[in-house]
Symmetry: C2
């Protein structure tokens, strides 16, 4: 099972990027997690370019198509989704490979609720299959902000591992597709 992890921040010391790298290390047996290279290479979304998308867009779409599931982790800026993450999603709105794609949305800032809720709404609108049991909030504020610290903190490490096992089990069983899939309470 191939999982593509995507961080919504370009900051070198990004907690979300660190989480993605930690997930690579904590992949369940039979699962491979790769981190998408920076979303910073994407151009800003322009519907006029859809007919002949720029190379970076085609590469993102190909990576999404190859993945059995996506792992998204994104910061909140001013109570909103980061422009970096939303720009990437805007390029994927018209992408058929995204429809039904299992997505686990990780919130690395539990005190930030607006962007997470907005992302769930956007992903739902894009017809992603939200894998809610694997979409966890990680209490990473404070000192646990690097990949090494996440791996060295048992409570965090085990939460990430559990989310990945859960993602694998649900996607692997097909329970993440269709009406039987457990969705969040509305």
């Amino acid at each position: 099972m191939q999982v593509l992890a995507i961080a919504g921040s370009l900051r070198a010391a990004s907690i979300n990027a660190a989480f993605c790298r930690a997930a690579v290390r904590l992949a369940a047996p039979g699962m491979s997690v790769s981190v998408h290279r920076s979303l910073g290479a994407l151009p800003l979304f322009n519907p006029d370019l859809e007919a002949d998308p720029p190379r970076e867009v085609r590469e993102l779409r190909a990576a999404v198509a190859r993945a059995d599931a996506l792992l998204l982790a994104s910061p909140e800026y001013a109570h909103g989704i980061s422009g970096v993450m939303k720009n990437a999603l805007d390029w994927l709105v018209s992408d058929e490979a995204f429809v039904g794609k299992p997505v686990a949305l990780i919130n690395t800032s539990p005190r930030a609720r607006h962007a997470h809720a907005a992302l769930l709404e956007v992903l739902r609108t894009m017809s992603a299959t939200l894998v809610m049991p694997a979409s966890i909030s990680l209490p990473l504020l404070g000192s646990c902000t690097s990949e090494a610290q996440m791996l060295a903190t048992p409570a965090i490490r085990e939460q990430i591992r559990a989310a990945l096992i859960c993602l694998q089990a649900l996607v692997g069983s097909g329970a993440a597709a269709g009406a039987s899939f457990p969705v969040e309470p509305r």
Copy 2:
């Protein structure tokens, strides 16, 4: 009074860009509306670059600082703020000139409610002064999607004109600043 109009879409035939150009033509006496050149020239937001922002970011911030008020018009993509608009706002979060800046937020797609509400939340979080009486919804769906059509349609033309007069009166009187400012019902 200087108003800076900013569209959140890069599409050549963008309704929001057309609205901005129509606003230039419909400026109230004593008011000058200019359209910010495309947000497409901005790099994707990276907090690491804040210490020495790219030229396009400095130009946007300077244009915001010069303006007495902003006129924002942005599309909704997948029930969310366009990445293009959010990316520009992400660059303005740390900009002192943005704090207290009077902003009229125009919704050119009244059937789209998510992005408009999300933008209000983001602008509030950024400490903009939301000028709600001038923040109108324009029923532009259908045939009225170009600058010429907006100017030629009396009901639309007069709604835009009224919003601009209202913006001028509130900002000019100082009523758009501080506690006396009429805010939206919560």
